[in-house]
């Protein structure tokens, strides 16, 4: 695995992603998702909302790096809030 040049930060990042996917899989098998309409302009399932929130979180981080010099963790908190809002009310 040395050739993949792992770092603790990226390892933690991918572990979180994998754990989220496994968690979502278990959640789906326990109580299957029902497509619904929230504030997003389309009908979404739980998986859709996760995808949208993760993609949005990536763009929030990129925007943060591109347009401000402030600390990145503030952007991360905004991304986390966005993730929770989309998952709950999206």
């Amino acid at each position: 695995m040395t050739w993949m040049a792992w770092t603790p930060v990226t390892a933690a990042f991918f572990s979180c992603i994998i754990l989220t996917l496994i968690g979502m899989g278990i959640w789906q098998s326990v109580s299957p998702t029902v497509p619904r309409r929230g504030f997003l302009p389309l009908e979404t399932t739980r998986g859709d909302r996760l995808f949208i929130s993760l993609l949005g979180a990536a763009y929030i981080h990129l925007g943060w790096l591109a347009f401000t010099d402030a600390a990145l963790w503030i952007g991360s908190i905004i991304a986390l809030v966005w993730l929770l809002v989309v998952m709950r009310w999206g």
């Binding site: 993949m4 040049a5 930060v9 990226t10 389309l42 993609l55 790096l65 591109a66």
Partner: protein, 290 residues
């Protein structure tokens, strides 16, 4: 409704999962790892956090390449999609003409990309190329290796020549799947040619057009070989698109960290556009069904 579930079927998906893991997921993870480090060799590497992302996002050359790329991709789509539909509508529906036109249309698709670049490089040359020579004979000063506009037009025309066939073939397949009954009904109703196209042919072509537009979007957004062979990104940087800029960073300068950061941004752009497009079109399809 009693749904039969058999989870053993998931085992049949495992081989595909492994192939995708090896060919896509693991390399992508490696790129993410590279993007946060300064790598000199496998043993000598330093964690730099988001430095490469900041550097790449502030790079003017990247902004210029991105604008060029967007203009190019939009031009390609605006030319190839309507042209492809128009050609597909005029193709014969039976007889020997069907096979003849299929073979002719498939020819550009069978030519390797670097060969397409070489063909157009020679074809466009003012001294020995048929195309370039004839254009100059007509009194137009054309030289794709010196004039940025000429280079742009040549790259665009080359792409249209290479890929419109794909849209034609996809649309033709969509058109062929429409039963004759639809046309007969339209005839009885006295529908105009436009109405037939708008309410019968276009909706039936929708799913193949989605695939066609997505394929053309992704392909043209990642275009590398043809412009590289034809113009080498020149004159100057006039036809340097994103992937060529990326290769310059990764292979030319061997800046693996910035190249990895740039790749991820590139990936996110493609992911977003494809998702938005797919969602919009699929939702439009659902609304139409309702």
């Amino acid at each position: 409704m009693n749904k039969i579930t058999n989870n053993k079927a998931w085992f049949l998906v495992l081989p595909v999962f492994f192939i995708v893991a090896i060919s896509a997921i693991i390399p992508l993870m490696t790129v993410v790892n590279y993007s946060v480090q300064d790598i000199f060799d496998p043993q000598t590497r330093f964690f730099v956090g988001t430095e490469w992302f900041e550097q790449v996002l502030a790079d003017r050359r990247l902004h210029d390449a991105l604008v060029r790329q967007i203009v190019f991709t939009l031009s390609v789509l605006f030319i190839e999609i309507p042209l492809g539909i128009a050609v597909a509508l005029t193709l014969p529906r039976k007889g020997w003409g069907v096979s003849a036109s299929m073979v002719l249309l498939a020819l550009p698709l069978l030519i390797p990309w670097n060969v397409v670049g070489t063909i157009w490089q020679i074809f466009g040359r003012a001294d020995i190329g048929l195309g370039g020579y004839v254009i100059n004979l007509m009194g137009i000063d054309y030289n794709y290796s010196q004039n940025p506009m000429d280079a742009w037009v040549t790259v665009l025309v080359m792409d249209v020549w290479h890929w419109t066939s794909l849209i034609v073939l996809l649309c033709y397949a969509g058109l062929r799947s429409i039963p004759d009954a639809y046309y007969q009904a339209a005839k009885i109703d006295g529908a105009s040619r436009w109405a037939i196209f708008r309410f019968i042919q276009l909706p039936k072509m929708q799913s193949v057009l989605v695939i066609g537009v997505l394929l053309r979007f992704m392909d043209s957004f990642m275009i590398y070989t043809e412009p590289f062979v034809l113009t080498g990104g020149g004159p100057g940087t006039a036809t340097t698109f994103l992937s060529q800029f990326l290769v310059t960073i990764a292979v030319g300068q061997f800046d693996l960290g910035p190249a990895a950061a740039f790749s991820l941004i590139y990936f996110l752009i493609i992911l977003l556009v494809c998702w938005v497009f797919y969602t919009v079109v699929m939702n439009a399809g659902k609304r139409e069904e309702q």
